[in-house]
Structures are given as structure tokens and as C-alpha cells.
């Protein structure tokens, strides 16, 4: 047992922090925001990404042959944490690349992984559909094999970042007679193919725009329509009909790590740091026994979120496999985020409703925007209800309900 990062990792943390303070200027930040909104990536943010890539920080623990740093997972976590805290940028080559490293052909690894690390290739996730979300076994989007091509028909929804993605990590049904999760496959489909349409869905926490650091600060997500989209059969990742296994690997990685942890605990830090301030409101709240008790309670829960993350990183660092731990963390951290957001709002009273730009808004309204954002994390990437099913069935061996 060891609960501290070692000196080398702490040194790395300091180096990364110093680098970000120097290079991620307000201008770079603005270009990054514009890029995320789908307005294109400016020269400053591109140069920033290039510099980070030269340091191999985007994928520190990934194999060097694909452009990773060949370092350990713990050090990568340290880099990820500093990046997310200061820039809001998530590292690790996005969702698609880990699954491609596990299931891709040699050609696919070369084609996608180095590009994904450099951010030339950006994946969006094509899982949810209007008729199915957390239960992906209900997928209807159809890919029909025609010689060396697939013809795709159907619709995806909540496809975050589709406006910026170069590819969609598409889960679709390749066997029309299959039921549940048999007969599903993953296709790596380039965006912008003839027959594809992306339509924005604007999220509630960004009207007015949410301040930096809001939990689930994504301004938009999307619907993606496939109208007889033709792609080469080489887009298939893994085996035809093996999409369930491929996706499971990718999804587990989404549910743990620096980003998931930080979006769940940053308000705990914010409220304490704000309470340190000099204002009349802070002075009265800081001495209120009930406020102190609630803040300490929520802080402790946040510490549990941290420990659950450290557990996940320890498992990954040791090359172990998750049994229930990823799912358990995906219950505790998002629900903590909701509990603390709502508790903070009861501490701040009417000020907690004021959004960015309003007179008297506290901390640019981040606590108000969080009320609209935090609960999204109990839904996205597998609802906490289904995550509890996983803990119970996989972790504790409880049976499935009879039909």
C-alpha cells in the first residue's frame, strides 16, 4: 500500500503545471473554446497541441511505436489531472484509440492511434440511439455488408463532439436477425461521408454559456443521421459480431480516470476556496455550524472519489482487470457531484441561482450552471442505475431477474 505519488511523479506534476501556466495563455484558451464549439482550431491552439505532442504528454503511458510516451499509467494520471484542472482538455487519445490498441489490425493501429494522440484524428462515440441509451443491446442502426463495403442506415443521438470529430466510433447491427448484443459490430466511420447529417442538440447548462470548469460543460451534443452511407469493409474494428466486447473495453475506460474524478470534485474545492474570501456573506457562512458540517461531509465524499480513482489507476498500473470497481466509481462520483452541487446551492441560497453574466453571480455562476450540469454525469456513459446492476451482478454474483 502506498498512497502518495513518488518524487518523480510530483516533479512531473510541477513541470506540467509550469508548462501550462506559461503556454496555455488566455489567447490559447480562447482558441481552444472556439475550436470546441466547432468554429475551427486556430494557429495558437494548434501550436500548443504540437508542443504537447512533442513531449508525448497526450498519451504518456501508450506504446512509443504509436507516438505514446511509453511511461507508466500513474504518471499519465498526473499529467491528465493537471491538464484538466488548468485547461479543461482531456488527454489519452480519446475514446476510440484504447479499443483500437486492443482490437485493431496492425494497419488500423498505424492508421488511427498516432493520429488520435496528435489530435489529427478525433473520435466521437456512436452508441446511443433514440430508442436505446444505456441498454446498448437495443441498437437498431444497421450496417449491411455488400461485398467489400458496408451500407449504414439509422440514427445516433447524444453524439458529443460530432461537430469536431474526424471519425465516429459507430456501434451498429451487422446481423439483422440477431437479438440483444449478439450481431453488433464497431465500424470506424469517417465523418462527412455522403449521406451523413449532423444536427446539434444544445444543452441546458449553456444558456448563457457556462463558465470554465462547469461539470458537463459541453455546450452542445448532436444527432447523427445515416442515410445509406457507404463505407469500406476495412472500417470494421475487431470481428464482425464482436462489437459488444470491443465497446465494453472502451466504455470502462471512460468511466474512470482523471476527468471523471475531477468533474465530480471540483465544486468541493471551489466552495471552500470561495468561503475563504472576505465578503460579508462568506464571513457569516464560514462560521455557521451547519455549513461547516455539510462542507466537511461533502469534502470527505470527494476524498472517497479520489481514493476510488487511485484504486482504478492502481489496477490499471498493475495490469489488472476491473471486476466491479469501474462501475462502482461511476455510481459514487457522479452522485457525489450531484449531492455536493445541491448542498452548495442550499448553502448559498438565492445567489446559487445566478448564472454567468448576472449581477451578483458567485464565481461566474459556476454553482448555478453546475445545478444544470452535474446530474448529466449520472446519466451519460451508462446510467448509475445500470452501473449498480453491474456492481451487483459482476461484483457480488447476484442473479439476473427472471423474464
Amino acid at each position: 500500500m502506498n498512497f502518495l505519488f513518488n518524487a518523480e511523479e510530483e516533479q512531473l506534476r510541477a513541470t506540467v503545471r509550469e508548462f501550462l501556466l506559461e503556454h496555455f495563455t488566455e489567447d490559447v484558451r480562447a482558441e481552444n473554446m472556439a475550436g470546441k464549439r466547432g468554429e475551427g482550431w486556430g494557429p495558437l491552439i494548434r501550436k500548443f497541441f504540437d508542443t504537447v505532442n512533442e513531449k508525448r504528454w497526450f498519451a504518456w503511458s501508450w506504446p512509443t511505436e504509436f507516438g505514446g510516451g511509453g511511461g507508466n499509467r500513474t504518471a499519465q494520471f498526473v499529467i491528465e489531472e493537471e491538464f484538466y484542472r488548468y485547461t479543461g482538455i482531456t488527454l489519452g487519445g480519446g475514446t476510440g484509440a484504447p479499443a483500437i490498441l486492443s482490437f485493431g489490425t496492425a494497419a488500423q493501429k498505424q492508421e488511427f492511434v498516432p493520429g488520435a494522440i496528435k489530435r489529427d484524428i478525433i473520435f466521437c462515440q456512436g452508441y446511443s440511439e433514440p430508442g436505446c441509451g444505456t441498454d446498448l443491446a437495443g441498437i437498431r442502426c444497421r450496417a449491411k455488408r455488400m461485398g467489400d463495403k458496408y451500407i449504414i442506415t439509422g440514427q445516433k443521438i447524444y453524439t458529443t463532439n460530432a461537430q469536431n470529430a474526424t471519425h465516429i466510433f459507430l456501434m451498429c447491427r451487422t446481423d439483422p436477425d440477431s437479438v440483444r448484443h449478439r450481431g453488433l459490430s464497431i465500424l470506424l466511420v469517417p465523418m462527412g461521408m455522403p449521406g451523413m447529417t449532423v444536427r446539434p442538440l444544445w444543452t441546458v447548462q449553456n444558456d448563457p454559456p457556462a463558465p470554465f470548469g462547469t461539470t458537463y460543460g459541453e455546450e452542445r451534443t448532436n444527432e447523427v443521421f445515416f442515410d445509406d452511407v457507404e463505407v469500406p469493409a476495412s472500417c470494421l474494428l475487431g470481428e464482425e459480431g464482436g462489437g459488444w466486447e470491443v465497446a465494453r473495453r472502451g466504455l470502462n475506460l471512460d468511466r474512470v480516470g482523471a476527468w471523471r474524478y475531477l468533474i465530480s470534485v471540483m465544486r468541493d474545492e471551489d466552495i471552500v476556496n470561495w468561503l475563504h474570501g472576505d465578503g460579508e456573506l462568506q464571513d457569516s457562512l464560514r462560521d455557521d455550524a451547519q455549513v461547516r458540517d455539510k462542507v466537511a461531509e461533502m469534502w470527505t465524499e470527494a476524498e472517497v472519489c479520489r481514493l476510488m480513482t487511485m484504486r482504478s489507476i492502481s489496477i490499471e498500473q498493475n495490469g489488472g482487470k476491473f471486476t466491479y470497481e469501474g462501475s462502482a466509481e461511476k455510481v459514487f462520483a457522479p452522485e457525489h457531484s450531484v449531492r455536493t452541487t445541491e448542498a452548495i446551492s442550499q448553502i448559498l441560497g438565492p445567489y446559487a441561482q445566478l448564472m454567468q453574466g448576472s449581477p451578483d453571480a458567485i464565481e461566474k455562476g459556476v454553482f448555478a450552471h453546475n445545478i444544470l450540469g452535474a446530474y448529466q454525469s449520472t446519466i451519460n456513459h451508462g446510467s448509475v442505475q445500470v452501473m449498480r446492476d453491474q456492481v451487483a451482478r459482476v461484483g457480488l454474483g447476484l442473479p439476473r431477474a427472471a423474464k
Binding site: E269, R292, E297
Partner: protein, 385 residues
């Protein structure tokens, strides 16, 4: 950073687990609850003979000098098996003596390892509060003696013990606390047995001008306040370890029951309402376990740890209570029948959650660290004493 158990930790955990599973049955636990001293001398002797008491003592005292996290693993297992032995009452003062005691006091640890000496520790008083402010037992220096006058309350396994580490307030310097070893047969010292839910031998003590030599004080002059806090923190965090272990056992019982008990044509464990309750129990136990292990690890590493202890105990108090209550819910009516074993764990977790500091008391410590000192906070790295 690697917070999982390493090979040696797994090995010791498995060995201790096997020992306790073999030696500690629920029948024994039930029998001991009705005995006068409410502990099993036979199990205590065997426990000592197997070397479990010396894991974390320093080598000069016959110990193996393993990190305190091993003691945590042991306490988790003692909670899992609710072993009726005075381990908590003894190990807290033993670790304090090992770290701060005089050579003569350290010599006492040999007697403990030979199971000839049982220790206890006394912190709380009549008002039941777990704060240093509430420590009022008067300790007046008269010549070569310390004269103790006042009361102590809620002292675990006191009647089984021969020596009690007592925290007092210095009469001549009221801002200063001290800790002193008092023989339980000292003149002027009397006790009354309490009837707690745990039925594990708590007592109230009355000190009527009890005289002990000054050499019985533990630690150097000026160290008293720090030692008092150390006693309190070790006591609190080891209760958290035991609650985590006991909670784990009730989860295991609840899951086994839910797989086998049928209702509405299927095992009740197939219902999501039951499954989700169990998933919540998993996180509650894991959270308590990780918080308490981290606190013990930090104590061992000589890092600041008070906030970590407070986190472990406040979270454990509420969350482990939820765990054992949920186990009751899953068991239905049989859970509250005396002959069924679940209540043995439920009653102990309920008691343990009320000793060594309540959630609110520990959160005061956390809040003070967060709010009463300058500097930006960050999860995992708050400024603390």
C-alpha cells in the same frame, strides 16, 4: 502510488483470516457476551501466541516493525469476525507506548505479547464528547506523584485490563493535557459496568485522589497534548477499520441470503431494489476501508493525518450504519430475531459508530482544516496540522 494490497499484505491478511475463521464462531461470541468480563481469555492467548499483537511494534520491543496498515488489516478482520478480544483497548495504548514510552514502559509490552497484560485507554468523560476540550480529569503534581481526581466514561474492556492509559488535564497548567498509565487496582479507583449494545465490556471510572508515580506519565514534558490527540486518533481510526470489516461481513451474509431466499417466484437477489441496496453497501464499505487505510498509512509515514482520521471515522459511522441496516432490510424479519446471528454485527457497528467520535465531532476537525486557515485547498492535499 499503489493503494492495492501488496503480496505480503495479502499473505498476512489471509493468514489472520484463516486463524479467526477457525477460532471465532458466533457461538463463542454469544457465550462471551454473557461472561462477566466479556472477553475470551483463551482466544486472546491464542491470538497473542500466533504473533498478531506484535506485527506493528518496533523491533526493540519484540515486534516485526511492519507499517501500521497491517494493524488496519488485522482490525478489519477482527471486525469481520467480531472476535471477542480486547484488541482495540490494548493496541491503542500499546502503539503509543511503543512510540513514546520510557524504557520501563516499553518493557511492559513484553507482558502484553505474552498475553499477561491487557491494556485499556480512557479519554471521554461524563459529557460523552470526543473533544480535547471535554477532558477535565484533574491531574495534580504533588512531589513525585500525580494525583488524579474526576471521572472517565465509556472505557472499553476496562475490567479485563490491568493497566489503563488515562488522558488528564494538568491542574497546574490547565491548557496542557497528559497521558498516564494507571493500574486498574490503584487505591481510590473504582468502576461501574455499562450495558452497551455491543456487550463488550465498557465501563465508567471514578478517580478519588488516585496517586501514581510521575514516572507513569507517557512521553516527554510538553508532549502531553500531542499524545492525547494520538490516543484519540488511533482509537478512532481503528474503530473505522473494524466497522469496515463488520460491514463487509453483513454484506456477505445479505448477498448469500438474497441468492437463496425466493419471493415472487425468484431469488430476491434478482430484484434491482435489492441489488442496488447491495451496490450502495459495496461503496460504503470500500470508502470506509480506503479512508481508514490511508489514515493509518499516513500515521505510519509521519505525515499529517488528523483530517484523514476524521474522514474515516465520520464517513464510517454513517455509511457502515447504513450497511448493517441494509443487511437487516434484506434479511427481513429474521434479522431482528435474537437467535439469528446478524444482530451480533449490527449491535457492534451501532456501538462502534458512537465511540471514538461522532460524525459531527470529526467533521469539526475537517471543517477547521478547510475553513480556518488560509491557502487554497485541493482534494488530497489540504493543509493540516
Amino acid at each position: 502510488m499503489d493503494i492495492l494490497l501488496d503480496d505480503q499484505e495479502v499473505q498476512i491478511k489471509e493468514a489472520a483470516s484463516e486463524f479467526l475463521a477457525g477460532e471465532c464462531s458466533s457461538a463463542l461470541v454469544r457465550k462471551i457476551e454473557t461472561d462477566a468480563l466479556q472477553y475470551s481469555p483463551a482466544l486472546w492467548t491464542k491470538f497473542a501466541e500466533n504473533g498478531w499483537l506484535q506485527l506493528c511494534l518496533s523491533e526493540k520491543n519484540g515486534g516485526e516493525a511492519l507499517p501500521l496498515t497491517y494493524l488496519g488489516l488485522l482490525f478489519e478482520l477482527v471486525g469481520y469476525h467480531i472476535a471477542p478480544i480486547p484488541l482495540h483497548s490494548t493496541m491503542v495504548p500499546a502503539m503509543v507506548i511503543d512510540r513514546h514510552g520510557s524504557p520501563e514502559q516499553q518493557q511492559l509490552l513484553q507482558g502484553m505479547l505474552a498475553s499477561e497484560l491487557i491494556l485499556s485507554h480512557a479519554v471521554a468523560e461524563k459529557n460523552g464528547r470526543w473533544t480535547t476540550d471535554s477532558i477535565a480529569l484533574d491531574g495534580r503534581i504533588e512531589g513525585n506523584e500525580l494525583v488524579l481526581h474526576g471521572v472517565k466514561s465509556f472505557v472499553g474492556s476496562y475490567r479485563a485490563s490491568q493497566l489503563c492509559l488515562v488522558v488528564y488535564r494538568e491542574a497546574q497548567a490547565p491548557h496542557a493535557l497528559g497521558a498516564v498509565l494507571v493500574p486498574t487496582d490503584a487505591k481510590g479507583l473504582s468502576s461501574e459496568a455499562l450495558v452497551s449494545m455491543a456487550k463488550d465490556g465498557e465501563s465508567n471510572l471514578k478517580f478519588d485522589h488516585v496517586r501514581v508515580p510521575l514516572s507513569a506519565r507517557v512521553g516527554q514534558p510538553g508532549q502531553g497534548n500531542a499524545i492525547a490527540l494520538e490516543v484519540m486518533d488511533l482509537s478512532a481510526v481503528l474503530y473505522a477499520s473494524m466497522m469496515a470489516g463488520a460491514g463487509q461481513r453483513t454484506l456477505d451474509m445479505a448477498v448469500a441470503h438474497a441468492k437463496q431466499r425466493e419471493a415472487f417466484g425468484q431469488p430476491i437477489g434478482a430484484f434491482q431494489a435489492i441489488q442496488h441496496l447491495c451496490a450502495n453497501m459495496v461503496n460504503a464499505i470500500d470508502g470506509t476501508t480506503m479512508l481508514s487505510r490511508e489514515a493509518l498509512w499516513r500515521i505510519d509515514q509521519k505525515l499529517a493525518y488528523r483530517v484523514n482520521v476524521a474522514q474515516a471515522k465520520s464517513f464510517g459511522n454513517e455509511q457502515c450504519m447504513m450497511v448493517v441496516r441494509s443487511a437487516q432490510q434484506i434479511h427481513g424479519g429474521m434479522g431482528f430475531i435474537r437467535d439469528f446471528d446478524l444482530n451480533l454485527w449490527y449491535r457492534r457497528v451501532a456501538s462502534w459508530s458512537l465511540r471514538g467520535g461522532t460524525a459531527a465531532e470529526h467533521r469539526r476537525t475537517i471543517a477547521a482544516a478547510l475553513l480556518d486557515q488560509p491557502g487554497k485547498v485541493r482534494i488530497g492535499a489540504i493543509p493540516q496540522q
